[in-house]
Each structure stands twice: as structure tokens, then as C-alpha cells.
């Protein structure tokens, strides 16, 4: 009689000694892992207040119809919860706070798509065990990742904005472009080389043709080559990638034809050196020191070789224009080059130099998208902060729309 209130009090405050014997997990089910390439099952069950590190969960799997069950995983019962950000709200296999376990195929227990598997859980605490009901699931590969539907919608929206901007630019070609000093200096650099009778060196970076920055560099090369052909200056384009060399050769050839100087084009303008990083750097440094180009262009993506190239170029007194999306190399370019196209300016260069309404229109489309992203960042930051302060997940319906889910 005296101990009863004490027992009730201890039960209320909770404690391992009074958590009670393990109970069968509620809502246990097995499902095909959503948005995957198959060969995997997912297990879901409700969280229990008695979950603790001393209580373990064992996962036993069998090929059904009835075969021997095999233990494939074991972990404390207070782990493997669904947390905020694990799944978007429109593709949640389990509610927040539920237990979720992905069971991939393994050499110990291979999972084959299309075959049913029986799974049951063993909850163990000390010497006490309890089994769940066996649940059955079939693994299958998925044809569409529903968690990335937000990404697809934004890509389509961006494409729409881009096409809309191009159409608008066609109707009204007078689109304002802010000045980009580095691109304005292209003409000056080529003119200087012409006056000094020295060659122009143009590098397309370390990337292959699959790199967008290399494509941007080749596009700019076309514009530069046109001006070079017009001024009858010598152009030298050493390459690290033979495919880039072949593409650049065609671009330069077309540029010379467009400039009305097909006779001035030489196959040797574009030449291959090596694909080895430092051997290439040594060779280009050698060209800079021996031939002393009056203008050096460094466009595309770069790594450790950036400073070795630009510092050598600076020591020869050449006017240097760089453009890169390699943010880690930007400080070196800014320090050693006369002009640097930072990040997106590299991609804007072809529109800026050619002034083609179609290309200029895309820049406006990008600006609209950037304004949208900035707005989302400001609103998202505010909502996330308020959500943390109010301890609420209500804003996740908005925040998940802009989250990257795999």
C-alpha cells in the first residue's frame, strides 16, 4: 500500500528497470525501397517510448515461401529513426519519428528483384525476447525518382524562362549588358599583340569536352580567333586533350573563314602537348619564356597549374585575361592576371562578345532565375530560423521544395 504510489511515480518518470518487457513492434511492414535501382527492401515500424540503447532490434530475413530465417542486422532500438530531411513530404515511406531501415542486397544475404522475402524483427532486452509478426515484401527497381520531382520541375521552369527570354530578346534585341572589363580587354589584348608583332596564347584549361567550362572556353576561342584573323596576328592554342584540340581546330577554322581570312588559317594553330598536368605546364611555360606572347588567355577549368602558368606569363610582361569556374583557383588568377572573368562571366562571354540577341536573351533568363533563387534563400533562411525557434516542422512543406534529395 505504501509502495504503490512510489511504484507509480517511478513508472511515470520512466527508467530502464521499469520499462517493462520488450513488446512486439507496432505497424511493422516491409516495402520495396522507394526511388532506387532495386535489390533492396525497406523496413518500417513505429517508435516506442520504451526504445533504449539496452534494447536491441535484430532483423531476420528469409526467402519465402518458408525458408530458414537468417539474421542480417542488429542495432539498439533507439536508433534508425526517420529524421527531418531524410525524405521529402511528397515521397515519405514512413512518418517522421518512425523507425526506418534500408536493407540492401549483400553477399551474406543477396536480394533478387521480383522475389518475395519474409522479414521479422526480434526485440531483445537482457534475457527477454519478443518476435514481431513476419511481414513480406518484394524488391523492384523504379523508373522515376519521385524524391527528385522538385528538381525536374525547376529544370523545366528554368528552361521555360530561358526560352521566354530568348523570344523576348528576339522581339527586342536591345538588352542591357553590364560591362565586363575582362571581355572589353580582349580587343585591346589582340591589338597589343598585333602592334608588338608577338603571338597570342590561348589555353582552354584542364577539362575535356564534357566539361561545360571547356565548352565555354572553346566558344570564346571562336570569338577571339575571329578578331585575331582580322588583325592577322599569330594565335597559338596548346592542348591537353586531343578531342578538345580537334573541336578547337574546327572552331578556329570557321572563325578564320567568317573573318574572310581562310588563307591565314594554319592547322598548327591548335596543337597537342600532353595530357600530363605538369608536363603540359612546363611546355606552356617554355613557350611563354621563349616566344614571349603579348597576350595570354586562360579560359576553362584549372587546378594546381594555374599559378605556374599565370605567374610565368606575368613575368614575361604579357597582358593576361583569365576566366574560370574553378573557385579554388580564382585567387591566383585575380592576383596574377590583368583581368579575370569570375565564375558565370565565363559562360556569359560568348553572348557578350557576339552580342547575338538569342545568346544575350539567355543571360536575362539566368538573371530572372538568380533573382528567384535569392528570394528563396532569404525566405528559406527566415522560415528555417523561425521553425527552429518555434520547434515546428510546419515550414518543411516549403523548405523541402528546394532541398536536394537523392
Amino acid at each position: 500500500m505504501i509502495l504503490a504510489p512510489l511504484f507509480f511515480f517511478l513508472l511515470l518518470i520512466g527508467g530502464p528497470a521499469f520499462a517493462g518487457p520488450p513488446t512486439s513492434p507496432e505497424g511493422f511492414r516491409v516495402l520495396d525501397t522507394p526511388n532506387d535501382a532495386g535489390k533492396s527492401l525497406s523496413l518500417v515500424w513505429k517508435a516506442a517510448p520504451s526504445d533504449s540503447k539496452d534494447r536491441t532490434v535484430q532483423v531476420w530475413v528469409a526467402k519465402s515461401p518458408p525458408a530458414a530465417f537468417q539474421k542480417v542486422a542488429e542495432f539498439p532500438s533507439n536508433t534508425r529513426y526517420v529524421r527531418t530531411g531524410d525524405f521529402p513530404w511528397w515521397a515519405q515511406p514512413a512518418g517522421k519519428g518512425d523507425h526506418y531501415l534500408k536493407l540492401p542486397s549483400s553477399p551474406a544475404f543477396p536480394i533478387t528483384d521480383g522475389k518475395p522475402y519474409a522479414v521479422k524483427l526480434l526485440i531483445r532486452e537482457g534475457a527477454q525476447d519478443v518476435w514481431s509478426e513476419a511481414a513480406e515484401g518484394v524488391s523492384a527497381p523504379n523508373y522515376f525518382n519521385t524524391a527528385q520531382v522538385n528538381n525536374l520541375v525547376f529544370v523545366l521552369a528554368f528552361t521555360g524562362v530561358l526560352l521566354g527570354s530568348i523570344a523576348a530578346a528576339r522581339r527586342n534585341p536591345h538588352v542591357y549588358l553590364r560591362r565586363i572589363a575582362g571581355l572589353d580587354a580582349v580587343e585591346e589584348a589582340i591589338g597589343r599583340s598585333t602592334e608588338m608583332g608577338r603571338p597570342i596564347l590561348y589555353l582552354t584549361g584542364s577539362g575535356g569536352m564534357s566539361d561545360v567550362s571547356t565548352i565555354a572556353a572553346t566558344v570564346i576561342l571562336g570569338q577571339v580567333a575571329k578578331k585575331v584573323a582580322h588583325y592577322e596576328t599569330t594565335l597559338k592554342v596548346p592542348h591537353r586533350d586531343p578531342i578538345v584540340m580537334a573541336v578547337c581546330r574546327e572552331i578556329v577554322k570557321e572563325a578564320y573563314v567568317e573573318a574572310g581570312r581562310p588563307d591565314a588559317f594554319k592547322e598548327d594553330i591548335n596543337f597537342f602537348i600532353t595530357d600530363d598536368q605538369f608536363s603540359y605546364t612546363a611546355a606552356v611555360d617554355g613557350i611563354m619564356l621563349r616566344e614571349k606572347p603579348a597576350a595570354n588567355f586562360f579560359m576553362g577549368s584549372y587546378f594546381a597549374e594555374s599559378l605556374l602558368l599565370t605567374e610565368t606569363g606575368a613575368s614575361t610582361g604579357a597582358i593576361q585575361i583569365a576566366g574560370t569556374d574553378s573557385d579554388h583557383q580564382l585567387p591566383f588568377f585575380v592576383t596574377t592576371c590583368d583581368y579575370t572573368l569570375i565564375g558565370e562571366e565565363l559562360y556569359a562571354a560568348s553572348a557578350y562578345l557576339s552580342r547575338e540577341p538569342v545568346l544575350v536573351g539567355t543571360l536575362r533568363g539566368q538573371d530572372f532565375s538568380k533573382a528567384f533563387i535569392m528570394g528563396v534563400m532569404v525566405i528559406g533562411t527566415a522560415l528555417a530560423t523561425v521553425g527552429v525557434m518555434l520547434q515546428t516542422d510546419a515550414f518543411n512543406y516549403f523548405l523541402d521544395l528546394f532541398r536536394d534529395f537523392k
Binding site: P141, A216, Q277, F278, D325, I342, S350, Q366
Partner: protein, 231 residues
């Protein structure tokens, strides 16, 4: 001819661009197999393209030697190095190690290529010093800010700086003021200012990159095919 030079490449670019953009959203093994297969094709094409590269190297340097252009001797050294490396490579069966020991080819690589690459890379240290000297000269208010920031970051990154400027707490009445040390200021500069600027650049790069990709896929940007006026 115009079909082969323009329409066909544009059609291939559009189909492959759309297919591999959609591939990102398809987790099915078929999609994975497709990208693996295309990667294999790219490796094969790169192999063939290397022949173009080697032909270019031979052509450029042969012309230099024939015309005895300034520095033609280096071209001779290049040919000698190519022939020697190929001969030794064939002799060693293309292996750098055999029977637990180093082959002649392995020796050639380890004792010529590796030191040469190391030499080039080590020059970077001196170039960083000279570039830093130019960048940190306090010629303008902006350069002065850069100089001060750089000194603080350098102090915060080395034990000496953290010892000299450790930061401290001052109590005035019931108020406690924390004076940040070199480490705290460095962390703030790197995590707040530097990260913010880097992210801004990366957002711009991403938008530009997606924009250029879309222009290429949709055939709006064609200058990579040579020329660029026929929109």
C-alpha cells in the same frame, strides 16, 4: 553536307542531352547501364583521339626541326625521349614492376618523370610567395583589407599565432566580454565571409553552367560546331 555538319550533330546533341538529363531522374538499372555504356564509348573515342594528339606532336616538332626554328633542339630531345621511353616500355613489356623488382620502364618513370613533376610542383611554393607579395601590397583600401585579413588568417592557422593572440574574457561588473583570438577571427572570416562569397560564385557558376548546357541541348548555342551566326 550541311546535314552532316550541322543538322546531324545538333540532332545527336539534342537527343543525347535530353536522354542524359532524364537519366539523372531514373534510378532503374537500365539507366545506369546506359551511362556506363556511353562512358565506355567515350573511353574508346578518347583512345582514337590520342592518335590525333600524337600525330599533332610529331607534326609540330618535325616541322620545327626541318625549319631549324629557334629551340629546335628541344624538339630533338622530345623525339629522343619518346623513342627511348617506347623502346624501354616494349622491352619491359609495359610493366613497371616484375618479379618483385623494378623494370627499366619503372626506373625510367620513377627517376625521370616523378622528379620532373615534383620539380614543377615545388616551384609553386615560390610562385605563391611572389604572387602573395604582389597581392598584399597595400596600394589601395581594398588591398589593405586583403592584407590585414591575410595576416589574421595566417596567424590563426599557425600555433605561434594562436599562442600570441589567444583571445580572452574580460569581466566588467556583471558583464563578461569575450575578445576573440586569431583562431576565432580566422574561423569567422573563413566560415562566414569566405563561404558566403564562394557560395555566391558557385550559384552563379551553376546557373551559367545549366544555362549554357540548355543552350547547347536546345541548339541555341552552336559556335562549338564552328561558326555561330546561323541561329
Amino acid at each position: 553536307m550541311i546535314f552532316l555538319k550541322r543538322q546531324l550533330p545538333l540532332a545527336i546533341t539534342f537527343v543525347m542531352g535530353v536522354a542524359f538529363a532524364l537519366q539523372y531522374y531514373i534510378p532503374h538499372p537500365v539507366s545506369e547501364e546506359a551511362i556506363t555504356k556511353v562512358s565506355d564509348w567515350m573511353k574508346i573515342i578518347s583512345g582514337f583521339a590520342l592518335v590525333l594528339g600524337i600525330a599533332s606532336v610529331f607534326h609540330v616538332h618535325a616541322v620545327k626541326i626541318r625549319r631549324q626554328a629557334p629551340g629546335w633542339g628541344y624538339s630533338g630531345v622530345l623525339f629522343a625521349a619518346i623513342v627511348t621511353t617506347m623502346a624501354v616500355g616494349f622491352w619491359s613489356g609495359g610493366e613497371s614492376k616484375a618479379d618483385g623488382g623494378q623494370t627499366a620502364f619503372g626506373w625510367l618513370y620513377d627517376y625521370t618523370m616523378v622528379p620532373l613533376q615534383g620539380t614543377m610542383f615545388s616551384i609553386l611554393a615560390f610562385f605563391i610567395a611572389s604572387a602573395a607579395y604582389r597581392a598584399f601590397r597595400a596600394r589601395s583600401p581594398e588591398a589593405s583589407v586583403l592584407l590585414v585579413s591575410a595576416v589574421v588568417v595566417m596567424m590563426g592557422r599557425v600555433p605561434l599565432g594562436q599562442t600570441l593572440l589567444p583571445g580572452m574574457q574580460i569581466s566588467i561588473g556583471q558583464f563578461i566580454f569575450k575578445i576573440p583570438g586569431a583562431w576565432d577571427i580566422t574561423q569567422w572570416l573563413m566560415n562566414v565571409l569566405n563561404s558566403a562569397v564562394r557560395r555566391a560564385i558557385l550559384i552563379g557558376v551553376s546557373m551559367g553552367s545549366v544555362g549554357l548546357s540548355l543552350k547547347i541541348i536546345l541548339g541555341k548555342e552552336r559556335s562549338y560546331l564552328g561558326g555561330g551566326k546561323d541561329q
